[in-house]
Each structure stands twice: as structure tokens, then as C-alpha cells.
Assembly symmetry: C2
Homo-oligomer: 389 residues x 2
């Protein structure tokens, strides 16, 4: 269903000849057909942010965007002034075809860092993609396919709000870490919302979803999440309900990224409860989710709680106060660590399901946080030792 | 040569029956035969620090230790009061044989977290090890062998100071990260130094060596570095020269840990220059050295500077001020990134040597720092997915 599930949007996905993989769809366009052209964006915090991020951050600053061009196969990152001009030229090309201002077009790129785009192919691709625009659900699916790189499956969402719809697509599989996973994401809605409402809903939604997944601890140069609102449903949603729906869309898409983590054989949920604050719980959950040793243990179906507590023990006491002697760790529902000491035998834990749950209680307070990650497998190393584009 | 290279020390390495590997040497004893019994220690910062760390931290607090018992095969970590009593009993056993106070014995354990020691085997092993004590270089080698776990080779050092000697041994291969790698280390010297001199030299030496290596970002519960001084040479060393020699011993041993990193096929040196402070340089070097994506790229012989700058870009500007447009990255001497943009072709870089050098210049100041790490390989995943003891 993807981005065209919401009314007032058309999309396309085409082969532009950017990817090194012959015949791979590598360009998507999403157009907001109105009546509104409200937009909000959240971008990577990386200081080496890519040219398209620099461009799009400015474009979305006024809360309005007419369309987005996205390409896979080349990140156009660390490409200096020349790269920035390429993003500008890409935007200008689509702006001309849609008869809007260049600054109404956002641009997203993903792929290898340090290479310029093959600009001729990009510009002819924009024309192709413009000609292919359609509001059909199939067009939305093609767009979701065109943004993939090492992803093995399309990741989309389609939700019904109270009288309005939310659609979305995302790509992301490796170089995934807070803040923001390495990902490009476009969420669309036909709700009638203001730019401020869109900004608020997106920021809050991203905070508890994309900012709480971690495939490999590596932050990208190109992360972008855009929310586009067409108002085509004519419905002005209740603000809290709209926030919740956007958060739900973000949660679904970010969970799908974990489900497609590079080489992953398990999806790992780390939930920390009993913390003195949400920040304390989050710091502990992030530390555990970032442990290569734990991620390898899960790959080997080993409920190795020693690697949980040794990670937990690296969080400074002023960040997360707790007494090691009060900590419990449940793995898939079995309390293998009780009061900082061995609990039930590890042999009682069934590690065969795709989802593995680590539930850690600090025994100090009432706050909690959850972070999702993947296991670390031979396949992850293979993909990232040999990835070239 | 190991710990018996310095005069005034005897050592042994025996099979005590602690390790799950039949016939593996798993217990070492190092005795300071005097005339001095000066000692200093540095321990893990992990809040879940193991029972032997809790014991030894107290034992060494007064600057004096007569002997150390070390075992592999079981970490005695997260074992509560019972585990602490086991460390105390182990110390008491050796203290009785040597006719010294229990508090003059340090205890170190490494292996699986969450299991108690097989105490009968430990106590009979201490007796065996005591009977086998010798000041021969062979005895030092046996001790260095007995502390290994997933290590594939012994790691020792032997240095000649001005009239005195320094010897040492270390174990460590995985769960290696600052602060302190997962490691047990005993350094011996026959120099005549005070407890304060020993403490100062060891702290400074550890800071620029063991605290600057990172195999997998995982901090252990059991890290211990001990420096024992017998004074047997009768030489009171120049303080600066002694500091330098201890630092050199620490550097050699920590470099050997990287050379034996779990599954590693490359040793990676990350040096950051041109920083406004040493802390800024260190934060940048640590961020780059911790990147799983970069470590995989090196495994695949790919001089992927995009993964260098994307890691660099995660360091906050207030921690390390720099302008991305002034950053250069040399890989094995080839400037592949120049001013934040592509420089020389990546094909010019020879990635076949075991050592790979990333030299990053921030272009802001005169300070620098170096961190060593390993590449991330299939073999690392294999070792850590299937490790049980």
C-alpha cells in the first residue's frame, strides 16, 4: 500500500541507472497532490551529513514540500560543493516538471558514501519517474521497492485513522543506530493538519521508534524521515489521536527495519524496567542492545545473561542508579539472573523463536524503555565485508 | 620470559581442573620473593565487578601484595556472597602455604560469567601450583599459558631498564574495550620502588595502552592489571625512566592483545591528529575504532573511508570541534579523503598487510591520540556465538 494509501498522493519507482546492479529500480518520486502541501522532516545528527540532507533540511524548514525524489545506489555524501549542486539540480529538474519552486522539492539519497551521482542518469530518471506517477497502490509499492539497497524486502505501512489515512515506506537494513537509523522514510497522510502539528507528531513519533533501534551502532550520513500531509480527506484529526497514529506508523516501519537487519537471524527486544527515569532506562537498554558479544550469543541461541549484566555495568551510576544485587534478567520469560546472581537454569530458555526478549528490572523506580536490535551473524560480516554499492 | 624475567619472582602454571577443556592449564601463581612486596593495581570500572576484583581491590589498597593466584575457566562473576567467599578461601589457601596474611594475596579469575568456581579443584590446584613454584623462565611461560581462555597465543614481555628488569604476562582476546580491556595482567619488576611510585607508573601506563584498545566494545567484569615490585635488583630507578618502562611494558602487552583479537585478520591503528585537545582526538579515535561497519570493511580489505567519516560525524561538536570540510583520511598512507571529499582512488590502497593504519587529521589543533582495534570477521562471530567456557 505504501505512500499512496493516503489520498492526495501519487508515486512511482523506476530504473534510472544509478545502482551498480543492472536493472534495479533505483529512483522513486512521491508527489503531494494537495490540496495542502504540509511537510515535516527529521534528519541525521551526523556532522558529515550528505548533500541531499543539507538540501532537504532547508527545503522543509518552512513546513511545506510538494514532492520528494529518492534514489538508491549512491548516497551523494562527502561530495562537497559538487554534490550539493547535484542535489539542487535534481530538485530543480522535478520542480520544472511539476511547475513549482525548487525549494518545494526534497531530495534523498542512499548508497555508497564518497561518490558523486551519475547526474545525467538522475535527471533522465526524474523525467521517467514523473511520467510514471500514479496514485495506484501498485505505484506506491514500486516506490517502496526503488529505495532499497541491502534490504531484502519492502517495508511499508497503511493505517486508518478516524476519517483519514496514513501510508508510508522506509528503507534501512545496516548502518542503523540512534540517533536515527540509516534510513530514508516517507510517511504520507490525507489528514488536514498544520505544519506545526505535523512537526510535533513526527518528532515525537521518531523519538520512540527510529531513535530506539540499533542494528550495528553505526549512524549514517543520509538519514531522513519526512511526513507529508495532503489534507485530501478533509478531516481535521484530534491532535492526540493523530500523534498516536503517526507514532504507530513510525513504530511499524522501524520494527520492519529490525526484521530486515543485515544478516539477522533474531530480532532482539531489550526492555529495561524499574529505572529511576526514562533516560536511565534508555541508557541501560542502549548499552545492552549495543553489545556485540550479546548479539553473537543470540546468534548462537545462547541466553548469555552474563553479557547482559556486563553491558549494564558499563552505564555510569550517575546516569542510571541501581544496585547490581537487585537486578533481574528474564530471557524469553525465564528469570536466568536473580538479584545479580544466577537464577533459573539457562537450559530452560527457548531461543529458537525469531524474536528474543530480554527483560531487565533494575529494582529502583517506575520508569522503563525499550530498544530493538538484531543478532550479529556470519551473514552480517559477509554483507559488510563485501558491500561495494 | 614472562613474570620471572625480573629477579625476586617465582611462578607456576598447572592443571587444576577448573576449565571445561580437559587437561588445559588453568591456574597460575606468581609470588614476590622480595625483599620488597610493593604492589599497585588497576581494575575494571564495570559495576558488576566480579568477586576476585572486589577481593583484590581491597588487598592491594595498602600498596603491598605477596602473591597472586589466577585462574582461567571461570570468572566467578555475578556469584554474590558465595562467590566472594570463594575468592577469600582461595586467597586464604595460598596465604597459609606462604605463611602470610590472607590480605597479602590477590586473586584473579577469567572465563564464563555467572558460575561459581569448583572450589575443591581450586584449593587442590593452589597446592599443586605452590609445589611447582620456580623462578625459571620456563615457570613464567607456564603461568602465562595457564591464564589463557579464547586467546590463541601467550602474551609476555621482558624489558631491561637501567639496572633493573620488567617482566609481564597478560591474557585477553575478546570482551575487550576501554575502560580496560577484558584482561588479566601481571607485571613484575625488580626495581626498588615505593608503593606510590608503582601506583603512579601503572596508572599512567594503563591509560595510554590498555585503555586505548578495543576489540569488540565490550567491557568485562574481571579486568585486573597488577604491578609487583620485588626490589631484588637493589636499583632505585629514575622516576621518569621507570614510568616510561612500565608504559612500554603495558603498550607491548596491550598491542599483543590486539594481535590476538578474537578471529581478527587485521590489526587496526586509528590515529587522530590535528585535534584541539587530546580528549577530542581520543573521542574521535574511539568512535572510528568502534565502528562495526568499518571493522567489517577492513575484514574485506576495503579501505572504506565513508565509514570512517560517518563514525567521526557522530562525535558531538562540543567534544571535538572540527570542520568536516577540512578533514583528511589516509589509509595505509594513501589520502583517500581530502577536505571531506574523495581524494586518491581507493584502488591505490594496499590492504593486504596485517596492520592497517587509519590516519585522520582534523585540521584544528596540535593534539593527537591513537586507539588500536581489530577487524570484525566471520571467525569472531563463530567464536562468540558458540563460546560456552
Amino acid at each position: 500500500m505504501s505512500v499512496t494509501f493516503a489520498q492526495g498522493f501519487s508515486a512511482s519507482g523506476v530504473v534510472a541507472g544509478i545502482s551498480a546492479v543492472e536493472g534495479k529500480k533505483d529512483m522513486a518520486v512521491v508527489v503531494n497532490d494537495g490540496p495542502l502541501d504540509v511537510a515535516a522532516g527529521v534528519f541525521t545528527a551526523n556532522r558529515f551529513c550528505a548533500a541531499p540532507v543539507q538540501w532537504s533540511r532547508k527545503a522543509v524548514a518552512d513546513g511545506h514540500i510538494k514532492a520528494v525524489v529518492l534514489n538508491s545506489g549512491c548516497a551523494n555524501a562527502c561530495t562537497g560543493e559538487a554534490g550539493y549542486r547535484q542535489s539542487a539540480d535534481t530538485a530543480a529538474k522535478l520542480a520544472g516538471l511539476l511547475n513549482v519552486a525548487d525549494a518545494d522539492i526534497a531530495v534523498c539519497s542512499t548508497g555508497m558514501i564518497g561518490d558523486l551521482l551519475p547526474l545525467d542518469n538522475v535527471l533522465s530518471g526524474v523525467e521517467l519517474a514523473h511520467n510514471a506517477l500514479s496514485s495506484s497502490s501498485e505505484a506506491g509499492e514500486l516506490a517502496a521497492e526503488a529505495i532499497l539497497t541491502t534490504d531484502t524486502k519492502k517495508k511499508t505501512v497503511a493505517l486508518e485513522g478516524a476519517g483519514y489515512r496514513i501510508g508510508g515506506m522506509v528503507k534501512g537494513s545496516g548502518m542503523i543506530a540512534p540517533q536515527l537509523a540509516t534510513m530514508l522514510c516517507v510517511i504520507t497522510t490525507d489528514a488536514k493538519v498544520s505544519a506545526e502539528q505535523a512537526r510535533k507528531a513526527l518528532s515525537a513519533g521518531v523519538e520512540t521508534s527510529f531513535n530506539r533501534i540499533d542494528v550495528d551502532g553505526c549512524m549514517s550520513t543520509n538519514d531522513t524521515v519526512l511526513l507529508l500531509a495532503s489534507g485530501a480527506s478533509g478531516v481535521e484529526p484530534d491532535e492526540d489521536e493523530f500523534d498516536a497514529m503517526v507514532a504507530k506508523a513510525c513504530a511499524s516501519l522501524s520494527r520492519q527495519i529490525i526484521g530486515d537487519g543485515e544478516g539477522a537471524s533474531h530480532d532482539i527486544r531489550v526492555t529495561v524496567t524499574g529505572a529511576t527515569s526514562e533516560d536511565a532506562a534508555l541508557a541501560c537498554a542502549r548499552a545492552v542492545a549495543a553489545s556485540n558479544l550479546l548479539k553473537c550469543a543470540v546468534c548462537g541461541n545462547d541466553p548469555n545473561w552474563g553479557r547482559v549484566v556486563s553491558s549494564l555495568g558499563t552505564v555510569p551510576a550517575d546516569v542510571a542508579p541501581y544496585d547490581p544485587n537487585n537486578v533481574t534478567v528474564d530471557v524469553n520469560g525465564v528469570r536466568v539472573c536473580d538479584g545479580g546472581k544466577p537464577g533459573r537454569p539457562r537450559s530452560e530458555v527457548d531461543m529458537t523463536p525469531r524474536e528474543v526478549h530480554f527483560d531487565i528490572d533494575l529494582g529502583e523506580g517506575d520508569n522503563q524503555a525499550t530498544v530493538w536490535t538484531d543478532d550479529l551473524t556470519h551473514e552480517y560480516v559477509h554483507i559488510n565485508a563485501d558491500y561495494e554499492s
